[in-house]
Each structure stands twice: as C-alpha cells, then as structure tokens.
Amino acid sequence: MRGYVKNCVICLASPSVLNVSNLTKYYGKFKALDSVSFEVEKGWVYGYLGPNGAGKTTTIRIMLGLLKPNQGEVQIAGANPSKNPVHALQSVGYASELPTLQTFFTAEQLLDFMGRMFGLPMQTRREKTKQLLDLVGLKEWGKKKIGTYSKGMVQRLSVALALINDPMVLIMDEPTIGMDPEATAHFRSLFTSLSKDGKTIFISSHLLDEVQRICTHVGMINKGKIVFSGPIEQILEDFTQQWVVEAELEKVTENMVSSLKALMFVKDVKVDGNKLTIELKEKKDVRGEISSEIFKQKGVLLSLNLHKITLEDAYLQALKGGQ
C-alpha cells in the first residue's frame, strides 16, 4: 500500500453508495484480503483490477453477503449486506463471471422469478422482462430454455437479470467475457449510458482497455491489498514514472544527441541505430520543441511519437509498486 487511496476526502463531502472498510478475509491460514478499504460514490463507474487470485472475487462476494469477512465491513446504501441483506441488496444488481443460470427456466421465466425476488408487481415484471430481453438482444430467445443458450447469450441474460430491479448499484464480475466483439461494444455503451443515468457501476475486469474506456475510477488490488483507489487520470499520473518521445531519423549525429540532451526538459537520450529515445523530465508533450531542435541540427525526421501511457502501463507499474 503506497497511500494512494485519495478519494476519502471527497467521500466526506458526499456520502458514498458503496463503502468497503478494512476488509480482511482468511481462507484457512491464507489471507485473501488484507484490510481492504475503498469507497464508491453515486454515478461512478469503478473498475476493480488485479491479477488472478488478487482478491477481486472475494471482495465482490463479501459485498454481496455471500462471504463473511473476518474483519471489517461493507455498507451498500448504508446497510451491511451480511447483516441486513434485504435492505442492502434491494437496490443492487449483480452479474457474475460466466454465470450458470437455472437451465430449467426460460429467460422470461427467470427474469420474472428474479423480479419476484425483488417484490416487483406482475405488470412491472412483464414490462421489464420484455424491455430487458430487447436491450440485451435476446428478444427472440425469451421463451427458450436457458439450457439451450450459448455462453455469450447466458452472459447477456446475466446482465439483463442484474438490471431487473432498476438497481442503484450494479456489480459486475467480468461482464463482457464470452461475448463477441459486437456485443462487447454494445454492452460497453450500455454501461456508459447507465452511469449517465446516475447508476453506480462496479466492474471487476481483466480487460484494461475496456476499463480505461468506460471507468471513471479504478481500484487496484494485489495479493489482497489495495494498491490504488481513485480517479482513472490519477493512476495514469501516479504510476507513470516518465514520458518518452521516440524519434526515427535518417541519420543520428553526436551533435544532435548532445544538443537534445542540453534541452532543459530532457532527462536523457538513448541512441539505437537511427532511433532516439528521449526521456523527459516532465509529463508534457514537447514534440514541437524536439522537432525544432532536430531541424536546427539539420536532421531529417522520419517519425516522432510521444509514447502514450495506457492503463496497462500504469497497472503493471502499480502492481510492481504494491509488491
């Protein structure tokens, strides 16, 4: 833990929808979670990242009241799901990773049953069932037994089930796994529009590109410990050691290298044949200044790229830092 849990100050000002506080969980002697704390506010799309076995699913299962923590607690809308599941989970929708749904039901029957579990009146259940099957692209399959569905279809139905109660908080464990690219894109835009409607979305995912596209905030867990929790821009900022400009020239001269090294924002210049790797002191796009300097030295520039930092870079850096 490097002290990157920065959202707590914000949370004091506006109460969080989901509050995970000091969670510790043992499986026998193995410590799966070690004092995990983070908060998620209304309208956030919170990506929960971490390598396999880091403790993501354990956190989610405690959030849903399926596991009992050895220490700490979870509050959803002010209620603890372990102690008061009826209140805490009333406004929660959950889609699990590669779910196994009740195969003896048809999609319509299962949606209706889940609607009953939330106490929805019959008319609402009917309307929601129709609307959700349409939304997830299973309109034609509503009357067929779930046992006949493909993995991707089950995953889509799982998202529909998570939305049956019009939840305030949507918890999803790898929601697009098993879906084809078209469905993945559809669901990505669905999650974005749900967050615009004010829903809070908590997504556990391995797909960093997906998380970077849809999440406003991320939490990172490694070996049961939170190594970062905060806005997505913050992680890119915090875990990027330096920015780098890569230049390809027709010919690299010694004068050129020394003049680039003399620039005040350049930390170091590395030469590899006709390629230059220019490490910057600041996180700033200085390609204009660099190209001017190269032209001054009569260099012929073939390409000039600012190496953009992805969430993957930051993620790997954060994991390294958390170890």
């Binding site: 599941p85 959950y94 196994t100 009740q102 106490g119």
Partner: protein
Amino acid sequence: MGGLRRVGTIIGYEWKRALAKKKILALIILAIAFQTLIMVAFSRFVGTMFLTNDAGSFMWILGVLEGQGLFVPLIAIMVAGGSMSEEYEHGTADILLSKPITRVEYMCGKFLGGFSLLAMIEALTTFVGVVLSLWFFGAQTGLQFAPLMFLAVVYSSLIFFCLSFMFSEVFRGSTLAMLMAFGILIASSVIGPILTALYSLSGQHLYVDLGKGIPTWAATSFPSLVMSELITAPRAVLPVADSEALYQAAIIIAVYAVIFIVIAAYRLLKSDVTKKTA
C-alpha cells in the same frame, strides 16, 4: 409480509427445480406402478391364499402404506438431497443469495418447497392407493380416515426428508448427501429386523428400545400405529393398537427432524456460500 412473500417465491422456485428433474418424475411413476402391481398381486394371487374375507375391505390401508416402505423415503431423499447442494454445485446459490433475502428465509423456502412437493406426491399416492383398493376389492371400511392417514404419512416422512436436507447443506454435494441418507435408510432397514430377531432370541427388551431409536422404525410405524388407534382391522393389515408406541414414534420423528434442521441451519448461517463445485 415481505419475508413471507420471499419464502413463497422460493417455494415456487423449489417446486419448479425439483419437478424439472427426470429422476424424481421417474420415481413417482415407479411408486404408482409398484402400488398397482402390489394391488394386482393381492387381488389375484396373494390375497386369495392368505387374506381373510374381511381383510379385503381394509385394503385401502395397505394400498396407501405400501409406498411408505421404499418409494416415499426414496423420493424424500431425492427431493431434499438436491435441494441445497445442487444450488452450490451449479453456482446458482450465488445468484439466489445475492438477492434481498435472508438465509433463514431462503432455507425456509427451500425446506417448505421440497416438503410440500413431497406431501403432494404422497397425496397422489394416497389417492391412487384408495382408488386401486376400490377398484380391486370393492367397498372399503374407514375411508373417512384417509385424510388423517395421509397426514400421518406426511409427518412420518419428515425423518428422511430432514436427514437428506441436512446432508444436502452440510456436504453441499448432492450425490454424497443422497448416498449418505440412502445408506442410513438401508442400514436401518437391515438393523431393525436384526434387533427384532435378537429380542426374540434373548428376550431382552433393550433390543426393542434400540430398534425404536433407528430412523426407519418411527418412519414406517407411525402411520400404521395412527390407523390402529382409529380402526380395528385384521392383523394382516394393521398392528394391534399401541398408544405408547404411537407417542414414542411421534416424538422420535419430531426429535430427529428438529436436530437435522438445526444442524442444517447452523451450517447455512455460520458458513460462507461456497462457489460452484460441479
């Protein structure tokens, strides 16, 4: 009110889940076929040789009770043995218990759903038993007690239902739960006659008391003991009325059922929901 609604929802779910299993449907069909076969055998062969004339008018009792020995406990074991465990095996326990429902409500719904389904199956076998006896043996005596007999059968089936339900939650594996419950059913069916034989040989009453402690004694004796209190029928159909044995059987069933349910509830309330195992 919300709690009752949630329990009711799980009861409906449990019915649908259990009836979707072909094994249970097959057992119901087998139970009815067995009943029919026995009645045919009695009317055509066995009855003409061994039964007295007046026994024919009490054949509805035999028609109802004959399923008790094997098929009703088997159906009880099948329904209850998969009730909790299959949800863990298939990973559907996660889906159900991540909804706004308490674990107590969930377990009540599961238990009442399974048990009410078993009661319906017993109502069907009771009805079939009565109809077959009327068909093969003509007018029957004491048919007004048929509903009471049905209730006695339902009560007596609590033992194996609760036993299998407990194993289902404790082991969280349907095969193991059913095997354990079935093993106890077979073992106590074998041990019972051995203890009776030992009593006959030694004359020691201890063997009789031990025999009453095994689950099959109360489960199989209770309905016939209830009927013996109400109807005087030939010995071939019903045992001699024995109020003391009747109360003992009633208490033993209740004690076993409570112990099994408490163990299942303790396991469910105190432990984590296990992930998909199958």
